[in-house]
């Protein structure tokens, strides 16, 4: 039971990660794939923040007082960077999707492959 409570957050993170991966593999729609990418990203953020938490700790903003326990600030810094970079990636991916829709008229992966097979130079 102790094991389950201690490791529950990791398992949830893995389930979320796999949900994002499944969407990216099994769905043909490109926007849906990007949504899956977003799910995957957020689960990674979660994993890092989980690692930084200390029991009985408080947020790493210094306050006066004896024996204050702070959570680990380092994962927070890494994830701050990662969130901003993640949304930049999403923006580029969505711009690509808009461009693909302009060029081919569809955003379904299998239709794109069919069009590509018909006219390899396009």
């Amino acid at each position: 039971m102790n094991q389950v409570i201690g490791l529950y957050s990791y398992w949830v993170v893995i389930v979320l990660m796999m949900a994002g991966l499944y969407i990216m593999i099994a769905r043909y729609n490109l926007v849906k794939k990007i949504i899956g990418l977003g799910l995957f990203q957020t689960s990674i953020f979660y994993l890092y923040i989980t690692l930084g938490k200390v029991d009985g700790g408080t947020a790493p903003i210094l306050i006066d007082g004896e024996n204050v326990v702070y959570s680990n600030p380092l994962p927070h810094v890494l994830i701050l960077t990662a969130i901003v970079v993640g949304v930049a990636t999403t923006a580029v991916a969505l711009a690509l999707v808009v461009r693909i829709h302009e060029a081919f008229g569809t955003i379904e992966e299998d239709e794109l492959k069919a069009i590509d097979a018909l006219e390899p130079d396009a």
Binding site: T58, A59, I61, I63
Partner: protein, 93 residues
């Protein structure tokens, strides 16, 4: 007191989430999501008091504004689309 309130808010969030997942139309989902955002704001406020550090209410403040912004953005999206089309009537689940 704060623990009781936190549990009540968590139960409320679960019920609201059920509506967001079941909701037959997109508007039901949107309503549930908006309501969920309000509950998140309450949860963070109460949680700050529960852990004796009520300094983090700024985050609740930001959430209440972001939540409103998101809802209005999606609604604008609907409005600029063809109203009355059958696109948003589908039963998904």
């Amino acid at each position: 007191m704060f623990i009781a309130a936190t549990i009540a808010i968590l139960v409320t969030m679960a019920l609201t989430l059920a509506r967001a997942l079941l909701g037959p139309t997109l508007f039901d989902r949107l309503l549930a999501v908006n309501s969920f955002g309000t509950k998140t704001v309450l949860l963070i406020s109460v949680y700050g008091f529960m852990t004796d550090r009520p300094d983090f209410l700024d985050i609740a403040l930001v959430y209440s504004l972001i939540n409103f912004l998101g809802t209005i953005a999606v609604l604008k999206f609907f409005e600029f689309d063809d109203p009355g089309s059958e696109t948003y009537q589908e039963d998904d689940f």
